[in-house]
């Protein structure tokens, strides 16, 4: 894909056989004047090369925080990673000194955000924001980095790239802006791309284009893709595996078809049931009663228990359910996953 050799220090401990990304028992908390919010409580993820992992969950379940913790761009204070490991090809990023961690960002792991209008700097041209990556990380000249920037814009299918390079973010439409962000993320040919709700702010037709673009780029570049979203529809086409998060934990993890066909966790099941379908016409919409817990006050036992129709006494007390092995590559944190599977 690129003819430029990465000029990064070789990270000590890099293991070519280790999984691309492995997050183990991650805990993140936010210390505020109203109490400690436990945003992530023991999350586990695994990403293989060229794999697409979707992290699914409602607002406030900790998925964005997890992504930011992986990238190392949490607002500290008030956010603190209190436990866990984030291993990129075997190296625990959390133990790296900041200057090395910084080199991993954009070069190896890149991230795109939800609202491209606010995520891009409004006072600099798109060309500037793209070329700065090349100038800062690769030491390229202004000329060369400008050419690379135009090239990138063409790769993300922005028409008339040469003339648009001098435009400001607010002069692009929503979909175009998101493509600019993708271009920025891919500039240094990272191995992992984290997309935090990339299509939430866009309308449906543009959504499809962007998802298509992401899928194509991932294929061409052999990247791993982590897709964070709350929209189950977006995910079905693109993901290989899905991790469902609730109150800071991964409550179910499975290959994409298995989750849609036979969910093993009550939350996942309820999510799927709440998607309105054409053949349900005339019936009452199914909702999950109650609200997600305040992160300062997570219920004991299984965090979902107040809203769960399978809940029994054991669910209301600690210890919370461990990730039961439902199948060779599936886990679910529910004492009663068999009942959930059986109920169809």
């Amino acid at each position: 894909m690129t003819d430029i050799q990465a000029d990064i220090d070789v990270l000590p401990g890099l293991d070519p056989h280790a999984p691309l990304l492995e997050v183990t028992d991650l805990h993140v908390e936010f210390r505020t004047q109203y109490g400690v919010a436990h945003a992530v409580n023991g999350a586990n993820f695994r990403l293989g090369p060229q794999e697409t992992l979707a992290i699914l969950g409602e607002s406030g379940c900790g998925k964005s925080v997890t992504a930011q913790a992986i990238m190392g761009i949490l607002d500290t204070p008030p956010g603190f990673v209190t436990k866990g490991e984030v291993r990129y090809r075997g190296i625990d990023l959390l133990t790296l000194p900041e200057n090395q961690r910084r080199k991993v960002r954009a070069n190896r792991i890149a991230m795109i955000f939800q609202d491209a209008l606010s995520a891009l700097n409004p006072v600099y041209t798109v060309g500037f924001q793209l070329s700065e990556l090349f100038r800062v990380h690769r030491g390229m000249s202004r000329q060369d980095s400008k050419r690379r920037a135009i090239d990138l814009l063409e790769q993300v299918r922005i028409p008339a790239a040469r003339s648009r390079i001098g435009d400001y973010p607010h002069q692009f439409s929503g979909g175009m802006r998101q493509r600019v962000m993708i271009a920025m993320a891919l500039a240094l040919d990272p191995e992992i791309l984290i997309a935090d709700e990339p299509t939430t702010a866009l309308d449906v037709t543009v959504q499809a284009q962007i998802m298509g673009l992401l899928a194509d780029l991932q294929q061409q570049r052999h990247m791993g893709l982590i897709l964070i979203t709350h929209d189950m529809g977006v995910v079905a086409d693109v993901a290989d595996r899905i991790s469902v998060m609730y109150a800071g934990k991964v409550v179910e993890e499975a290959p994409v078809y298995d989750i849609y066909a036979r969910p093993a966790h009550p939350y996942t099941k309820a999510l799927l049931e709440s998607i309105p379908r054409l053949d349900m016409k005339g019936q009452e919409l199914s909702v999950i009663r109650g609200l997600p817990p305040a992160l300062t006050n997570i219920p004991a036992g299984c965090a979902f228990n107040p809203r769960c129709r399978y809940a029994q006494d054991v669910c209301r007390h600690d210890p919370p359910p461990p990730p039961y092995a439902v199948a060779p590559s599936r886990t679910a944190r529910c004492h009663f996953f068999r009942e959930v599977l059986a109920d169809e």
Binding site: Q68, M71, I73, R102, K103, V104, R105, A106, N107, A110, M111, F113, D115, S118, A119, L120, N121, P122, V123, Y124, E132, L133, V136, H137, Y168, H170, Q171, M181, M184, A185
Partner: protein, 308 residues
């Protein structure tokens, strides 16, 4: 852009006429004996009375008088002070001194405000920030009628660090204390605006993106945050220049600096109507022009504004 410019110029013209009319009316309207008022407290002979009536068109309706006055203004004739000197001449004498003082003041104030504001904004809640907040609060509240005489007393007279007055021929050094005093009028708000702007921009989404791009903290703040944060501050500084040039009355009075404010104040005291109106008219123009330039500057600094 062009339409915006035209609109602003029209606004300026309207404001200019409105403001000068108000000042003119306040100075000259409804006086029992306008001639006596023009002369202040001096007695007038009938001959003088006739001459003054002719010169100032006092036998004509008020609005007509205003019209004559404006005509004169627009042709560059600012009239004659009751002391006999031409107002444009007095202006030419006083203006450079005031500009010198105002520029020194703004340079001192802006430097302090920007440096301290950026540091406070970055380390918000830290010791430096708290101390700065307290200091700005005090400076903000100290009225100039307190600050000017007291600093003259302490630093000029008692400690002898600076000369207590700065006349026309005084060296630059003598202007430093008055410039600091004058700058105190604006330094506190400039600092606070800088601080607030930096804090708000540090929380922006584009900062997160910049960090995700693996940029160093220095670059994130120095290149990305600063450029956005400084926009409101620069425009504020521009406006402040206009304000300082016209607000130096107390400072010039206390330190005996023969600038615009000093002369103007003396004119008000001695009820020198033509001088008051003449000087204020010029100051209004300067004020308006500076504000217009600042507005245009805003468009230059912030690309989002250019396309209105």
């Amino acid at each position: 852009m062009f339409r915006y410019l035209v609109r602003r110029l029209l606004q300026m013209v309207l404001t200019f006429f409105g403001a000068t009319f108000i000042v003119y009316a306040l100075t000259f309207a409804n006086q029992d004996d306008p001639i006596q008022a023009l002369a202040g407290e001096r007695p007038i002979t009938p001959a003088q009375r006739a001459a003054l009536t002719e010169r100032y068109h006092l036998d004509e309706p008020f609005l007509k008088q205003y019209w004559y006055y404006m005509k004169g203004l627009l042709t560059g004739d600012f009239g004659t002070s009751l002391t006999g000197r031409k107002i444009s001449q007095m202006m030419a004498d006083a203006w450079p001194i005031t500009i010198k003082l105002a520029l020194m003041a703004i340079v001192i104030a802006a430097t302090v405000a920007l440096l301290a504001g950026v540091i406070s904004g970055i380390r918000r809640g830290g010791t430096f920030d708290n101390i700065t907040l307290v200091l700005t609060l005090i400076v903000l509240s100290l009225p100039i009628v307190v600050l000017a005489p007291l600093s003259q007393l302490v630093f000029g007279i008692q400690l002898h660090w600076f000369p207590p007055t700065a006349g026309r021929t005084a060296p630059l050094f003598a202007f430093i204390l008055p410039a600091i005093v004058l700058g105190s009028l604006v330094v506190a708000t400039e600092l606070r605006v800088t601080r607030a702007s930096v804090t708000e921009n540090l929380r922006s989404d584009y900062v997160r993106t910049a960090r995700a791009k693996g940029l160093s903290r220095r670059r994130v703040i120095g290149v990305h945050v600063l450029r956005n944060s400084l926009i409101p501050v620069i425009t504020l500084i521009g406006v402040d220049i206009g304000q300082l040039m016209s607000g130096a009355i107390v400072t010039e009075g206390v330190f005996n600096i023969p600038g615009v404010g000093f002369n103007l104040f003396r004119g008000i005291r001695t009820e020198d109507g033509p001088l008051v109106v003449g000087f204020v008219s010029i100051l209004v123009i300067v004020f308006l022009v500076v504000n217009l330039i600042v507005d245009l500057l805003y468009a230059v600094l912030d690309p989002r504004i250019r396309y209105e």
